[in-house]
Point group: C2
Chain length 347, copies 2
């Protein structure tokens, strides 16, 4: 008997972070008697007087938001990193500690409280990318800020405490460990082949055509071979671009379209506002050239079977190894087949 | 200004898996407007006719459970790993895949549907440890089973779909990656010092006495310096014991007491049945001596502020680096101060 990845339990290797995922394709038939989530209430007002992100409203620290009409960023009132921390290293026996410092920001995607990325116009998503670029530049230029992590937690299920469309940026002195892993893998491939690891991977995916869910001239969206989350997706620029700072104007539009389409397909999957954590991995801002880096955006969504049943990353996954049931190919096939028109916007 | 780990954001190094956690001690004052969980309904019957784990009942695959009266184990009806998978390796361009096989079991801790570990007698918890030992032996002895992962997902919040007291064992051919990391770190310390890494760590914790929450002659429970989850706890045997198979009878009783006390303190923390994923990390069963291994049990509980507010491991944590707000020392102080008598069993 030969190994059949559509039938047999197997492990897949993640070329980007050097880790493995256990895939159990036969287990999709398992019934579910566990926890069910509530779906998010639909129909939010375009302005909410009690929302600390809406234009003109007062925030936790007493400041007022301006009457912004596109995007807006400000320093997080509850930053996990601060600017004035001493960066000492303390070693005491087996205990190792290092001070860390940085700047945390909140990015409002739109003044309209009722929107989410898939419901926004491509033009408005370009504005979001624009402010990400600006922040990546400005924060990255600050002496001692070596990485700028851009991300969005969408939906209550992903720890988002305010439905106003927004994301965050945590920029910092140390390079976060997921980024260190991806740097290492890309660098060793670059040194050996003088080509981008992700660029070559994308070419292989285009040839195989089993996990692509959408592409245009400049960007492709796919379920990576080693996906951990049920409907995990990666958006990759076709050109070898190290960071969002290096995008051309037309590429920026292509990226905005890719984001709109991926998040629209997500919402259409279970006809719900699809929760996820998403973020951009790109070249560190530590002053090195980082030719090895090929920027990409990843989406980690928890839902598995319906708007109310998620995949739990618990016992085995936390203690031993990430595990999934549906295969990347099944997830990609489903996502590829979904409409690019949002279910709330169909005539 | 010098780095003060009670005040300043800093990173701590995990000696066991070679990873870092970001600690933001100043952030405990953050208000919470996000998702709140429902608490688990109290008062379950001792027998539930609809429960597939209660004695005598019929399971999903049509088998009936025996009328067991202590502990009971059976093969998981929805095993993520199967015995007959070819273990081929397939390399296709950048895609790497390996067949994996194994045996998954369910372990009922008690015939009484209403119980949980903290509500069980120490004698009954010894029976649970007894069946873990038996399974570790029997599964580990099977040719091709190189690791036996014992774990429990407790509570709906941790993906547990049946409140009947039970845990799981996933045993398999490949060694899971969290175990590979811990093996590597322990082995290099052993080679250098001919002493157990965890043994030396425990001695340091006993001297410092800042993170211990309880100990008896044979076991200690503490919040590790590098804890990721808010109230993460590790139970460590004082003697250098490679696996639960090597425990003496009196150590087994000491371990049962440690489990009872840790889980009782957990329930007392927010006066709720405290959810967690817990499991045992110990020597692989791949036929090597593994002198480097010092077995331990870890508890990863999600609750942060109350029975209904958990810590979300989302955007930054998934994409960049684990992050926590309360320090390990704060968590240990709180847990240490809690009663060893369960809040439901006080007179
Ligand atoms: O107990 P179950 O239903 O097998 O499943 C539970 O534990 C497994 C192992 O940690 C996870 O893979 C599942 O996501 C979780 O729901
Ligand atoms: O958006 P908030 O409220 O800052 O916080 C949210 O995102 C953070 C970064 O991923 C997490 O640390 C928190 O657990 C989560 O609730």
């Amino acid at each position: 008997m030969k190994l059949d990845i559509n039938e047999h339990p197997h492990r897949r290797y993640n070329i980007l972070n050097d880790e493995w995922v256990l895939v159990s394709p036969h287990r999709t038939k398992r019934p579910w008697q566990g926890k069910q989530e509530k779906t998010a209430p639909a129909d939010r007002p375009t302005y909410d007087a009690g929302c600390y992100l809406c234009p003109g409203n007062v925030r936790a620290n007493g400041d007022s938001n301006p009457n912004y009409n596109t995007v807006y960023s400000f320093k997080n009132d509850f930053s996990a990193l601060l600017t004035d921390t001493p960066s000492d290293e303390i070693n005491e026996g087996l205990l190792r500690t290092k001070g860390d410092n940085g700047i945390c920001k909140v990015i409002c995607f739109s003044p309209d409280h009722s929107l989410t990325l898939p419901l926004m116009q491509v033009r408005s998503i370009e504005d979001v990318i624009g402010i990400w670029q600006k922040e990546y530049h400005e924060l990255g230029d600050i002496e001692g800020i070596n990485y700028v992590q851009i991300f969005e937690n969408k939906g209550a299920l992903m720890g988002c405490s305010n439905p106003h469309p927004h994301g965050q940026i945590w920029s910092q002195n140390s390079i976060p460990q997921e980024v260190v892993k991806k740097s290492k893998q890309q660098l060793s491939y670059w040194n050996e082949n003088k080509r981008s690891l992700l660029g070559d991977y994308l070419k292989q995916e285009q040839q195989m055509d089993k996990r692509l869910i959408w592409q245009n001239e400049h960007f492709a969206a796919l379920v990576p071979y080693w996906a951990v989350w049920p409907y995990e997706v990666m958006i990759i620029p076709k050109r070898h671009v190290r960071s969002i700072a290096d995008l051309t104007e037309i590429e920026k539009t292509g990226f905005a379209k890719a984001i709109k389409i991926v998040t629209t397909k997500y919402d259409n999957l279970f006809e719900t506002s699809f929760p996820y954590s998403a973020g951009i991995h790109q070249a560190p801002t530590d002053g090195k050239a980082h030719h090895e880096w090929h920027f990409h955006m990843v989406f980690y969504p928890p839902l598995l079977r319906s708007a109310t049943i998620k995949k739990f990353m618990v016992g085995y996954e936390l203690l031993a190894n990430p595990q999934r049931d549906i295969t990347a190919e099944q997830a990609a096939g489903t996502l590829e087949g979904l409409s690019e028109v949002h279910y709330c916007q169909r005539k």
